[in-house]
């Protein structure tokens, strides 16, 4: 939707009595406000729980919770989510390194080369299909083609996340490339620049803030994913700095595992991990927002 197409005219029936119309308007407005409150209550309750319960765990004896290893005895209370924080950063980071460059290249193909060719349309359609692949399906897929052959590793999780991010990055990047005015490209061609050079030095830099913002949103979403990591990471409680080697863990997986227990200590750690993860995704999203507003300035 470009917002420029004219809206089909719908009969605007103003024949009813004014008082009835005003009353109806007031009623509908009241319903909207009510809906807003209805939505706000559970969301505030959730954030309240996460912040309230998470803070007391995460900041008791700061910075223990963020650096200590996860207690091997899961029912024991006490800090430690360090390895999960490292795991989340590693898995998400590796997934970003895989998905973002490939995704941008793919979008470059779609918008600069393929455009309306049959192949480009097929890829565009399939990327749309791929966005809909449930994350657990991606997790199973990576388990079968990767984990079964190589054993647990952070990289397996990164592969699954990268597969989820790829179509999102392609989609958002293509949208951004569409916004780059054609005269920029034409100017570069007129100077005799080759197509690849035009793309690398003119088109992509022009679209950069938008691409970064779109990619960051994909990363934020990926950082919180649990299902694709369930089968690939294994269950480490100690730091594992090796990307390709050995079991790892992640915040989301730890929250899931600890939410499933009846022990107060592990439930507390789940809340602490939830607070950390929420903070991480919020931070990435806010950075994305900043890039978006810079984009708005540029335009």
């Amino acid at each position: 939707m470009t917002g420029m197409e004219p809206t089909p005219a719908t009969a605007l029936d103003l024949s009813a009595r004014l008082s009835w119309r005003v009353a109806k308007n007031a009623l509908m407005t009241a319903l909207m406000v009510l809906a807003f409150l209805v939505v706000a209550v559970p969301l505030v309750a959730i954030l309240w729980s996460v912040i309230g319960k998470g803070m007391s765990t995460a900041f008791a004896g700061f910075p223990d919770f963020f650096i200590k290893e996860i207690p091997v005895v899961s029912r024991r209370p006490g800090p430690g989510m360090g390895p999960a924080i490292l795991g989340t950063l590693m898995v998400t980071g590796a997934a970003t390194l895989l998905a973002v460059p490939i995704g941008i290249l793919g979008a470059v193909y779609l918008h600069e080369y393929g455009v309306t060719s049959k192949f480009a349309r097929l890829v565009r359609f399939m990327a749309m299909v791929m966005t809909g692949v449930p994350s657990i399906v991606m997790g199973l897929f990576v388990y079968i083609v990767w984990t079964l052959r190589t054993g647990y590793s952070a990289f397996g999780g990164a592969l699954a996340l990268a597969c989820l991010m790829l179509p999102v990055v392609i989609g958002s990047t293509e949208q951004m490339l569409k916004l780059v005015p054609a005269h920029l490209r034409e100017a570069a061609y007129a100077l005799g620049a080759s197509k690849s050079r035009t793309i690398m030095t003119v088109v992509l830099p022009a679209a950069l803030p938008g691409i970064v913002s779109g990619s960051l949103l994909a990363i934020a979403r990926a950082a919180g994913e649990t299902a694709p990591l369930l089968f690939a990471l294994g269950a480490a409680t100690a730091y594992n700095p090796h990307l390709f080697d050995g079991a790892s863990t992640a915040l989301s997986v730890q929250i899931f595992a600890n939410a499933n227990t009846s022990f107060v200590g592990s439930q507390e750690r789940a809340w602490g991990a939830a607070l950390t993860l929420v903070f991480l995704t919020f931070f990435i999203t806010l950075v994305a927002r900043i890039f978006t507003s810079r984009l708005a300035l540029k335009r």
Partner: protein, 381 residues
């Protein structure tokens, strides 16, 4: 496994010498209190003379890190976690991860060689054994423990159940707490007119396997759901993931009853029932009553056995056991040795941790057999 090929050379040298030392001095290791420490000391003494070193300078002991991965039974998870912690203090170069997931997952992971050892409350089925990628396996029993019937009803602090009643509850023939059958087991008790919520395991579980095997044996004729690591539970029942998952549903649901191992039930602060044993006595699940159950068991040569539904006045009837399963042929030297020393710890020094965790240690005879079986684990030279 990728990690097998990625061992850094120094590790190989260190553990190769360690293995050599073990081979030369079999008694040295057995006599020590802490096997991994003993192995390391022996290795250090022998390091200079190891021809495999090939001129490379062996690195310090801390560089030779080995990581072992295990998964499976959530029943023995408490013991695994405590042992990993203690074992880690003694030998810092071996890191061990134990992920739960249920006995079924452990056996499958070992079959696929995704892990180095599996925790399991039941054996492989005969036809599945052939699918194991690493050849024949060995079973090491490591503990005994009771399965409790944990419940959550306000106002009922003591509950007695017979096997027939348990069977009736879990196949939903008995739907109310004040049912005649339950009242019959609890003369004089005040039972509320509340609906029973049955909670069972959602994952493939050795606890389920043993619990249903028990009902199959002790409530013959009444129990119709057969036995297995997953059974076809009635539709109007709930399920939790792992023993702790079941415990969690029971703690948060009025009127709930579920089967949870004693260790997790106690750590979750649950109430649990006394169960009528073969001798007709209602016995409370404790580490002692589980050990009493273990006293009279028959053990086969492969160390497979069942402690369910035992004789004896003082034995808790739903007592079961858990094994660690490993491949008989360990293809990677470093890991093989680490597996062996960790197993030895579980079978000997670790046993003293068990009562504190509400498990029962192995009976002496069984422990000796299991330690002797360690020699059958062959580590590649």
């Amino acid at each position: 496994m990728r990690t097998l090929n990625r061992m850094i050379p120094t590790t190989r040298i260190l553990t190769a010498t360690g293995a050599l030392a073990l081979a030369l001095l079999p008694t040295a290791c057995k006599s020590k209190d802490k096997p991994p420490e003993g192995a390391e000391k022996a290795a250090e003494g022998d390091r200079g003379g190891a021809p495999q070193a090939g001129g490379e300078k062996p690195a310090s002991g801390a560089g030779g890190a080995v990581t072992l991965n295990g998964s499976g039974s959530t029943f023995q998870k408490g013991y695994q976690e405590a042992s990993i912690e203690e074992f880690g203090k003694a030998s810092s170069e071996v890191t061990i991860n134990y992920g739960g997931g249920g006995s079924g997952k452990g056996r499958q992971d070992l079959a696929d060689m995704v892990v180095d050892f599996a925790g399991s409350d039941s054996a492989y089925k005969e036809p599945d054994l052939a699918k194991n990628k690493g050849g024949p396996v060995l079973y090491f029993p490591i503990l005994l423990g009771p399965i409790t019937l944990s419940y959550n009803i306000d106002g009922v602090d003591k509950l007695q159940l017979s096997p027939q009643t348990i069977a009736g509850i879990f196949q939903r023939d008995i739907k109310k707490w004040n049912d005649k059958a339950i009242a019959g087991d609890n003369p004089g008790a005040k039972l509320p007119d509340a609906a029973i919520v049955v909670v069972h395991r959602s994952d493939g579980s050795g606890t389920t396997d043993n619990f249903t095997k028990y009902l199959d044996a002790a409530a013959k004729g009444t129990w119709k759901l057969k036995s297995g690591s997953t059974v076809e539970w009635p539709a109007d029942t709930q399920a939790g993931n792992g023993n702790a998952g079941v415990a969690q549903i029971v703690t948060s649901t009025q009127g709930a009853i579920g089967y949870v191992d004693l260790s997790d039930a106690k750590a979750s602060g649950l109430k649990y029932a006394s169960v009528k044993n073969q001798a007709g006595k209602y016995v409370e699940p404790t580490a002692e009553s589980a050990q009493a159950a273990g006293d009279g068991i028959e053990v086969k040569d492969d160390l497979l056995f069942s402690a369910l539904d035992p004789k004896g006045d003082g034995s808790y009837p739903i007592t079961y056991q858990s094994w660690v399963i490993v491949y008989a042929k360990q293809t990677d030297k470093a890991r093989g040795e680490a597996v062996k020393s960790y197993l030895k710890y579980l079978l000997t020094d670790g046993q003293r941790l068990l009562p504190e965790l509400d498990f029962a240690p192995l009976p002496k005879g069984l422990q000796d057999k299991a330690v002797a079986q360690l020699d059958k684990v062959q580590v590649a030279p």
